[in-house]
Amino acid sequence: MINKLFGFTGGVTVEHHKAQSTKTPVRRAKIPDTLILPLSQHIGAPAEPVVEMGQCVLKGQKIAKASGYVSAPIHAPTSGTIEAIEKRPIPHPSKMSDTCIVIKPDGKDQWIELENHAEDYQTLDPSKLRNLIRSAGIVGLGGAGFPTFIKHNPGPKGLVDTLIINGAECEPYITCDDMLMRERAQEIICGILVTKHALQAKQCIIAIEDNKPEAIDAIKVAAQKFSDRNIEVMAIPTLYPAGSEKQLIQTVTGKQVPQNNLPIHIGVVCQNVGTTAAVYRAIHHGEPLISRYLTVSGDVVEPCNLEVLFGTPFNEIIDECGGSKDNIRRIIVGGPMMGFAMHELDLPIIKTSNCLLIDAGQSKDLEPRNYSLPCIRCGNCVDVCPISLLPQQLYWYAKSQELAKVQDYNIFDCIECGCCDYVCPSQIPLVQYYRFAKAEIWKQERETQKSDTARNRHEFRTFRLEREKAEKAERHRQKKAALKAGGLAKGGAEKLEANPQKTAILAAMERVKAKKLSQGIAAKNTDNLTEAQKKLVDEADERRRLQRSPQPENEAEIVTKTNKEKSEK
């Protein structure tokens, strides 16, 4: 068991703003009039619809299947009718639209028949468990949305030492994991047992930031019953971004995940508490992932946590919390440090949405910045960077678009936690510069790839044309050489060959001779003719002779003849 905490470099202490949304117990949000379910609610390939328009579905019925390994199915959050399968705006920072399945709830909220493994999951093969988790559509609920069953694959070596359950929830305002731990500690612990079995992990550490004493107590009480299962609850210092996977692993184990590797490389798997509770519901109750805890905070009348069905539009949720305090200026999905500001209010909640933060100009902390000054190289950003980057250098090179330099300074290790941006006295939107630089590099790489392909193709074509030309020239040369060589050897014969017309005439004359000869022999059948026959032959010969004789049938000849006669006269 690990008892020591290691901590991580950098990090910032932020105002939590967590108390406001934890005053009331979590309640179920009402079923909205329509549910909009984007096919892409996770990292990986979008799901493929398996329902048709107008079809009736039951709660928990699969409406879209996973397409490929890194993908996750989607289930109907309630019973109802499929109203449409069409492009709708989705909660994505790019303001894009994507295919969504729209369900019109029937209000009955009728479950499909479920199959649970509450009793026998420990006898199941880990791969079977993973399949169950996969078909329940479970993805990481901490925000990234990576399909969970993939994380549960310990690989061929199967060397998972530590399962870390992430209950840090370091982002300000967000309290959904906190409330989940307070209210459903038992489910989380049971989910941990399932996950541990699936991973065959030796030990499990539940890491919770020490600003959540109620959650720590609840989890400790729930974990007591399983004291023999190597499950430890660990209060970690409250320091943003303690809940980031890499930083949490470093805090708990003291090890760093090597670059371009997954935590499993160092024998660690990290899983969010919400995901763990979802695993419990999938295995113990057979329920697929159709809802989640969501924090609604900021400038709403009643900040709170709700259990929300996926597909519920933002504005329904805001109404549920008593509406916003003023005209909504900005709506952030996720926390204020890493969340994305969305452009519309009728976008749906998806699997990865953990918080709706409403800014109506009432919270001073959410006040947008007006302008930024030049970087004064104060180095505050260096001190807070949890990855030990040099944010001021990254900014400098990103701004001047020196993309090679940006990569030298390891821009792709940046987790976009926003610490540098948060402390910057010049108020420079640093993260925005890094995102821009990353996007530019990707774009360039795509273009390089494209131009590489084009260049290769062009080079091959040039090569092929050259080769064909050379081959043709070679054939020509060989033929010429052969002709020349043949001519020298045959000498006289060449003269005949040189005049094929003459040869042909000669050959034809030969053939005629031969034919005449053979006809001459054949004509001997006229030798022994009777008198009557002879007479007939003669008559025929006579007729032929007459026909052959020239007769002045031509008018021109007649005219010519007459003229001759006249001139003679």
Partner: protein, 344 residues
Amino acid sequence: MSLYTPSSPHFHVNNSVTEIMLKVTYALIPGILLYVMFFGFGILFNIILAIITALGCEALMLKIRKRPILQFITDGSALVTAVLLAISIPAIAPWWIIFLGTAFAIIIAKHLYGGLGYNPFNPAMVGYAMLLISFPLQMTTWQLPITLSDNYLGPVDSFLLMFSNTNSASLALDAISGATPLDYLKTQLGLDKQIPYIMQSSETFGLLSGSGFEWISLGFLAGGIWLIKQKIIPWQIPATVLGSLALIAFIFYIIDSNTYASPVFHVFSGAAILGAFFIATDPVSAATTPRGRLYYAAGIGILVYVIRTWGGYPEAIAFAVLIMNMCAPTIDYYTKPKTYGHGK
């Protein structure tokens, strides 16, 4: 409907460049007050004139460079440059020294290099170095502290001295000026005298370093510690500057205490404390990597000692800082921290 969609983070600590610069200025106040106590009001006129010149030049340059004037003139950086330069110049220097130095610092050292954030050298120190090289007489004529002189210069006398080179008591400059402790020590050492003798035979020296001067250093020390507490400056830079200065002074002191002054004398003399807390910590021109800051600061500490002891000038903060400013980009390049996950 389309809402406001800026990039994350949407949450910021409540700080600004202006706030940093103002706090640096506040932190100088205890030292300045002690300065007035021991040396008269001249320093205040220095500061006021420098501030007016600095803001005027700043506004002019911003206008020429077509930058938003209000946004930049309120950032406080010109204010800090002006105050730092003003307290580095003798309080009895004529007005045009202040004007020239400040204008040079703001126009040449700051704006011609791109203004706030782009100047490779500390502008105040560039202004100081230019003045010291161009006008050595005016720049080395320091007034005597009240502990050594009966003539305390009040506001009127200071004003007259600054602008018309006269004063109400018709005192000659010689009567109110003298060598600084560092200067005195250097001259006496040049006459082959030994330090214990020099220290005892002159009233120039106080308990820690120069009489009167040591109090000003203590004032700046207090302000500097407050800045560290406020997290405006990193503690590593002043600690390393003074630490390395003390260390090298200690080594030579041990070797020969007759020729080399004590580490305490070096730390509390001249502008060592002011330089360590207020000048070496200028973020724009200093090294910024955690390790780089240490090398940068150690370089300043060692150079100060080397120039003071073996160089041609009695004080060396400005030269040491400017030399290390030159090295800062290279230091930063070779001291990149190890990125997370990039191996041991």
